[in-house]
């Protein structure tokens, strides 16, 4: 009983914290709307008599004191109504959610590349620290850190789209509709469109993760239990993968989870370069055209993504390492 109660309490506490953060984000979104957006101008234009303005203002509840307006906003937000987009004349939440699959597939593909490259490369660099290969990989990672993500995208487009003509330079290509999900992973055209953006996005995370895997592995390889495993006669491969990597995973997740916010920003940049019709691209369109409801809805959606991922990471590290203190410290 007791063994189960502690983790459950931990998860409950994290969920409560996540809810509080979401509430804060919603309040910020409300403040931004109140400061930037005048819905009346969008609805009626400039040339409307003052009396009519006042009447509509009252009808929409815009003359109510702000706590009342905030309560109404939060009430509607809880039901999924975050306002109407000026550009699209539709529910902003629908507009933003329709773009989610594109962003998600891009991030998924990039994360796969990062995982498949950084783990072997990091282990190799930790196991053979003085080899030429390791030096080459680490040298490349200094270079990689120094090339901004949008520039990587531009260079890839210049070489592979403009000069060689191998891959398309913008858009998602052909997609298949699966229920509400606009899927680009199932067609050859969609995958071709995905390749350059995914490589671009992964290029900015790779150097960091290679260094992280290498650092975490080096720590583990010097530890007593690895020496013990070696002394018992376990094979090198088994020691690296079964003993060291497994324990290197935790610091990796802890530091990696700090990158979730950066990942959102880098995704936005990548989407801009490749005109990838995801949430970030939509956000910049909303900013250029001052579509305030759409801007705030994007902020709420991104905040939600951020909170969910962080909570999942916390729960995952709890599951991976039962030693994590459950009493308050985290």
């Amino acid at each position: 009983m007791q063994a189960l109660a502690a983790p459950l309490a931990f998860i409950g506490k994290r969920a409560l914290q996540a809810l509080l953060v979401m509430l804060m984000i919603a309040v910020i979104a409300f403040a931004v709307r109140a400061a930037l957006g005048d819905p009346l101008r969008e609805i009626m234009g400039e040339a409307v008599p003052e009396a009519e303005r006042v009447a509509l203002r009252h009808e929409l509840g815009l003359d109510a004191p702000w706590p009342t307006q905030l309560a109404r906003y939060l009430g509607r937000a809880a039901k999924g109504d975050l306002g109407q987009s000026y550009i699209y004349k539709r529910s902003t939440l629908e507009v933003v959610l329709a773009k989610f699959p594109a962003s998600f597939e891009l991030v998924l593909a990039a994360s796969l590349v990062v995982l498949l490259v950084s783990v072997p490369a990091g282990i190799y660099c930790a196991v053979n620290p003085r080899s030429w290969g390791a030096r080459l990989i680490l040298g490349f990672s200094v270079l990689g850190i120094s090339v901004p993500v949008f520039l990587t995208g531009i260079l890839l487009i210049t070489v592979f789209s403009v000069w060689l003509g191998w891959f398309p330079a913008f858009g998602r290509g052909e997609t298949i509709r699966l229920g509400v999900w606009e899927m680009g992973l199932l067609t050859l055209d969609g995958l071709k469109h995905l390749l350059l953006p995914a490589l671009t996005l992964s290029s900015i995370m790779l150097p960091l993760f290679i260094r992280l895997v290498r650092g975490a592995m080096l720590d583990q390889l010097g530890s007593d239990y690895v020496r013990t495993a070696r002394a018992k006669g376990a094979s090198s491969l088994r020691v690296w993968l079964h003993h060291a990597l497994r324990n290197a995973l935790l610091p990796l997740i802890a530091v990696g989870s700090l990158q979730i916010g950066n990942m959102l920003a880098f995704t936005l940049l990548t989407e801009t370069v490749f005109q990838w019709p995801g949430m970030g691209f939509l956000f910049l369109e909303a900013v250029t055209r001052a579509d305030v409801p759409l801007i705030t809805t994007y902020l709420v959606a991104v905040g939600l993504l951020f909170v969910i991922t962080n909570t999942l990471v916390d729960v995952a590290s709890l599951w991976l390492d039962p030693r994590i203190s459950l009493e308050g410290r985290r």
Binding site: A35, V142, S146, I154, L264, T272, V287, I295
Partner: protein
């Protein structure tokens, strides 16, 4: 105090130049770029901010070494007939200025907070550490994008353009202070436990005097290392924001703005307007990062990875 500290630093610099020719090269490259950017008004053949002096007939001229290039335009011209070499000189100047000023703000906020957290400890420490953690996980770039996007949506692109330099400095400066705070805090904790600090306290020196005279001078090395990498980060952030249209306007281009304004032309085969400023940016960033790595190894072996 400063004289005594500068000698090992000088020796370290000399050893560093001999041991690591690559890093010395990076330092030299950075020096040349910074000097050229500083002397931009003297070197540049054209004033890239004077739109009236551009000639549309010069638009999209390739670099002088390519077919159709002109000697007047060493690196070619952009779509308005702006000399790219002049634009890059001034653009680098703006990028470096924003980077250095933003890092100055980061240091001005982060170092005192880190010193206090590390020296005082207890609740103050855990409060500062917690706030720093939260702020770091939010991502500087994302915070800056959102802040500038709201300015743009609220005040319009023109106002944003006019206020771009102070806004960029402020946003990048405010969003990144935790890195300095963390480094200062960790180093202060180590230093505060040492004999000379305890001796100072036993002799009745005030906390302020101990921090200023005994701790700060001894934690400068890691802070210098952090400042270097932070400058690279700030320059990169500025470029990214300008590329998104949330930074400097086309009339006053930084490297990021130049990359953005040339981006559409790639598809017409006019690559130089984007690629040359891009390579300049990479050159600056590689040089700063290599230098930062080398400084870390030379000044602070504990941090070497």
């Amino acid at each position: 105090m400063s004289v005594r500290n500068s000698r090992p630093a000088l020796a370290a610099i000399r050893a560093f130049a001999l041991d690591r020719p690559g890093s010395a090269l990076a330092a030299m490259l950075l020096g040349v770029i910074a000097l050229a950017a500083l002397a931009a008004p003297l070197i540049a053949p054209q004033n890239p901010f004077d739109l009236a002096s551009f000639d549309v007939l010069d638009a999209e001229l390739p670099p002088s070494w390519l077919k159709g290039g002109s000697d007047r335009f060493l690196l070619g011209a952009d779509s308005q007939g702006r000399d790219l070499f002049s634009a890059i000189l001034y653009g680098t100047r703006i990028s470096l200025t924003v980077g250095v000023l933003a890092v100055a703000i980061q240091a001005a906020i982060g170092i005192p907070l880190g010193l206090v957290a590390g020296y005082v400890g207890g609740r103050v420490d855990s409060l500062i550490a917690r706030v720093a953690d939260v702020q770091l996980s939010l991502s500087t770039l994302m915070l800056a994008i959102v802040a500038l996007a709201l300015v743009r949506a609220g005040l319009g692109g023109d106002t944003l353009g006019r206020l771009a330099v102070p806004l960029l400095v402020l946003v990048i400066g405010l969003a990144e202070w935790p890195t300095f705070a963390r480094t200062a805090r960790a180093a202060t904790q180590v230093e505060a436990a040492k004999e000379h600090v305890r001796a100072g306290r036993a002799l009745g020196a005030s906390s302020a005097a101990i921090v200023r005279r005994h701790i700060l001078p001894n934690i400068l090395s890691p802070l210098i290392v952090v400042a270097t990498t932070q400058i690279a980060g700030a320059i990169m952030a500025e470029a990214a924001l300008s590329f998104l249209g949330l930074g400097l306007p086309v009339t006053q281009p930084s490297l990021g703005t130049l990359i953005r304004s040339g981006y559409d032309l790639i598809f017409a085969g006019i690559w130089w307007v984007t690629v040359i400023p891009g390579l300049t940016l990479v050159g600056v960033l590689v040089a700063v990062n290599v230098l930062g790595d080398a400084l870390r190894d030379a000044l602070d072996p504990r941090l070497a990875r």
